[in-house]
Symmetry: C2
Subunit: 250 residues, 2 copies
Amino acid sequence: MKSAIPETGVPITQPAAGNGSDRQEASLHGEVLLRLRDYVVEGNIPEGARVPERQLCEMLGISRTPLREALKVLAAEGLIELLPNRGARVRQLSQRDLEELFDVMAGLESLAGRLACELITDEEIAAIERLHYEMYGHYLHRDMHGYFQINQQIHESIVAAARNETLKTTYANFAGRIRRVRYSANFARKRQRWGEAMREHEAILDALRRRAASELSDILFQHLRNKRSAAIDHLAEGQDTGLETTPQGD
Amino acid sequence: MKSAIPETGVPITQPAAGNGSDRQEASLHGEVLLRLRDYVVEGNIPEGARVPERQLCEMLGISRTPLREALKVLAAEGLIELLPNRGARVRQLSQRDLEELFDVMAGLESLAGRLACELITDEEIAAIERLHYEMYGHYLHRDMHGYFQINQQIHESIVAAARNETLKTTYANFAGRIRRVRYSANFARKRQRWGEAMREHEAILDALRRRAASELSDILFQHLRNKRSAAIDHLAEGQDTGLETTPQGD
DNA sequence: AATACAAATAATGAATGCAAAATAGCTTCT
DNA sequence: AGAAGCTATTTTGCATTCATTATTTGTATT
């Protein structure tokens, strides 16, 4: 058998030349790290599958040294795991792993809400309100995809309003780990749960307007907890196929 | 000038032989990573100072390849930073960085408390109570060091009671980043603040006994927030000397 | 004497090379 | 035919080497 990795190979020719998002890294290993991380997060390699060094080197047009450095970092981030003398594999998340990840995400968002209450401006709240109503529109039209997009933006806005770069980075890290599952989980959302989620979002907005830190913290945690349940349930159902059926549109 | 790094060099002769704590890593790079992390966390290299590859290679008795892999990981963890073509430096934390780190730690402990309320056993609570009274004894005897030790144990017990390995790992990561400062901050604790901290701990224990998740979450966050203030104030005072005077007993 | 310039030296970043381990393939034996 | 054992190939882990960039040292000039 060849390998399950699609050949999206675009060699790194111009290190850190204006390639879309302005991620800083000028060094080769930095470039490799960013590209590999995306590559894995986007689900280009099946869960549990080997991450073949040689093939990736060819794909990226580099030697093994910077690639291996990047792999070590990805392993530290929890995206892959390194088996001694047996190479790297895409980390397979057990149900328990997912529960833990969702809970930590819930804790981080809960913290973000708490901190946001301290310094958030009326303008920022207004912007979130606009997003909220936009999302409500998608809800009414039963447009799951649009809803999901705005939903993400709202949560990211709250994290941004916390004015804590460390928190933001950590949040992004965990978000990457569960991205595929999360997407899948949102599609699994039952109609009833969807309505609940909308109500929770209204409560979030309300608490935010009143800068009620503790209260917002509680609501956000519960909100994420409920998402967790939906996601876990969904996965438990489709356990056999695992994540391979996860939509990867974007 | 030679270098500011003390020669604690003990070459890695027996990879993962029973060297105290049972840290798994069998590979060389893993060994190096663990040792280097401790080396940096324990403050053997002054803040902002270069991390000389060659010297560390000699000290550890390895080549540059595994060392550089470890450096990449430490950079990802936030302990050091890599300047392009200019090597690694021990990350110097600005006051803002510290504020952010303390807040994230506060959020994580707050989360830990919330989760702990769900499944903590009476035995675990009893164990924390014992620690609490032991700590109270240190408080009465004005034994700052003993107090600090037990204090750490209590917070770690709460994190452990959350039954979330991901959280535990993340918590440990952040704890490592601010370890030196934290130690210093505890010594800076004024008598009045010390009394407050004891009362807060009593409230923590009370909420834990009642499994009052939201309440415990709030108390823990506030508790850590107050620690943050003490630490930041302390650092602001001794800004000139920086952290070099930090006691490093253990 | 101080500054600017230039060569020498050392450090970094990445590629290559080599030994050990794992996997695959083949043969042999029951 | 199937299992067990042995060899060949591949892959991994680390050391070494090479090119490039920074830093230091020395020299000349104002």
